[in-house]
Amino acid sequence: MIRTENITKTFGDNDVLKGISTEFYAGKPNLIIGSSGAGKTVLLKLLIGLFKPTSGKVYYDDVDLFSVDDDALREVRMKLGMLFQGNALFDSMTVGENIRFPMDMFTNRTLGEKEKRVDECLEMVNMEGINDRFPSEVSGGMQKRVGIARAMVLEPKYLFCDEPNSGLDPKTAILIDELICDLTNRNNITTVINTHDMNSVMGIGDNIVLLKDGHLVWQGDKSQVLESEEAVLQDFIFASPFLRRLREDALKQRHAHD
């Protein structure tokens, strides 16, 4: 579990996060949602220690991420996996070498053991047999999967995904969501996903944190989204007239059943 306590972050005169206190649970996908500029990416970068908060604390189980020394911070980071928005795959390495890199750096496994683990990870994301291709030789959706495979290679306790389905077609986006959800449940890891994709919210949102202008304005799960009267949430999720009509119809049907 990851817990934040009254986190604030200021850049110059700009207060980006204003007192965020929340929890992200193990074994379920935790979504950070909000419109552009709400502070999602800053919160995610704070959670993984790339930014330091102006005030407040981030706990990984009972470890305060920002009070430990650099070596201990690296120890925590070795339990993290991260899928970046742009994948951050190393262009000069093949897919197999990309996935193998964390093992090369941190384990004493033999080449055979590492190759076997690479194959397992590629199989996990349904991408068998592309070890020798370079990232530029595979599609955007495949790159996302390779990014997930690399994030999972050291069996992390925490997985972070920054807009995992941005730039993907809706069908591939849903496949990526399902894959992340499946890996989270199967490995009982704490997954935090930064997204503004409505399909993700309604499909895998087991714990949703909504940010607006640096404030946490709503937290709940996908089943509560439809009924919630929180205006910011409704404006964000059901942004178009078409989606608002859909919501009204769904609510009518639900009330009729009740």
Binding site: R74, E75, R77, G81, M105, F106
Partner: protein, 248 residues
């Protein structure tokens, strides 16, 4: 304002290099990266170094033949002058100024590109000490191979001087070789290697610093690359003077 900015950059540069001096997570990975950099910096720069140094040697010799031709200075002095100018100044300084352009811009662009594509963030998340992994192998590789390149440059430059004077008949083979053998001061060779090692360190550390903190897009990456070349070239000239003061 300018002084503030310089002090800020100096402090950040020192901090980055302090972070870079750390125990490697995995020695074999650092070794592999150092070898890769030696190949890129050393082997990758041999041709340009050969080309430039042969011409510098030829021009130096031809100029001195022209200037000393009608004087009372013995003609074998041409070989002596070419040798000392090459060893003391031309080989280390000109070669490293050229390498600041070639290697420095390349390193700044490589690391800056990694910053912009979030590769550095990805490594940090994995637990890699990026300052150490991305910078230290490059510095070690450069400090090892650039003095070798400078030694090659010195040799080729002297050969260039021979070709441009002896082959056209301006000097005899005996005169040129006698000049090369006269008044030899071994300390100058030591000075050449000191300069080469110091300049190699400056080129790589400054260029890596510029790339590591590159922000924004392609324009900023270009600026980082240009700054790497400009700053390291200026520092080479400043340290050239300081080393000359200290070692002569």
């Amino acid at each position: 304002m300018v002084v503030d900015k310089m002090l800020y950059n100096l402090g950040r540069y020192v901090n980055l290099l302090r972070d870079a001096i750390a125990r490697p997570e995995k020695f074999s990975m650092y070794y592999k990266e150092t070898m890769r950099q030696m190949d890129a910096i050393g082997v990758g720069s041999v041709f340009i170094v050969l080309l430039i140094s042969v011409f510098i040697g030829m021009v130096t010799a031809v100029q001195f033949v022209d200037q000393l031709g009608d004087s009372f200075v013995p003609s074998y002095y041409i070989g002596y002058i070419v040798r000392d100018i090459t060893i003391i100044e031309m080989a280390p300084t000109i070669t490293c100024l050229v390498l600041a352009g070639k290697v420095g811009s390349n390193l700044a662009a490589e690391i800056g590109g990694m910053r912009q594509k979030e590769h550095i963030d990805a490594m940090e998340i994995m637990g890699v000490n990026t300052a150490a992994y991305l910078i230290m192998p490059k510095i070690i590789a450069a400090v090892v191979v650039i003095p070798m390149l400078v030694a090659i440059a010195a040799f080729v430059s002297i050969v260039g001087g021979y070709v441009s004077t002896v082959l056209p008949g301006s000097l005899s083979h005996t005169e040129y070789v006698l000049g090369l053998r006269s008044f030899f001061v071994p300390r100058y060779v030591f000075m050449m290697f000191v300069k080469a090692a110091v300049f190699a360190y400056l080129i790589t550390s400054v260029s890596c610093y510029m790339g590591y903190y590159a922000k924004g897009g392609s324009i900023e990456l270009g600026e980082a690359s240009t700054n790497a070349v400009v700053v390291s070239s200026v520092l080479i000239l400043v340290f050239d003077f300081l080393i000359a003061l200290l070692l002569t």
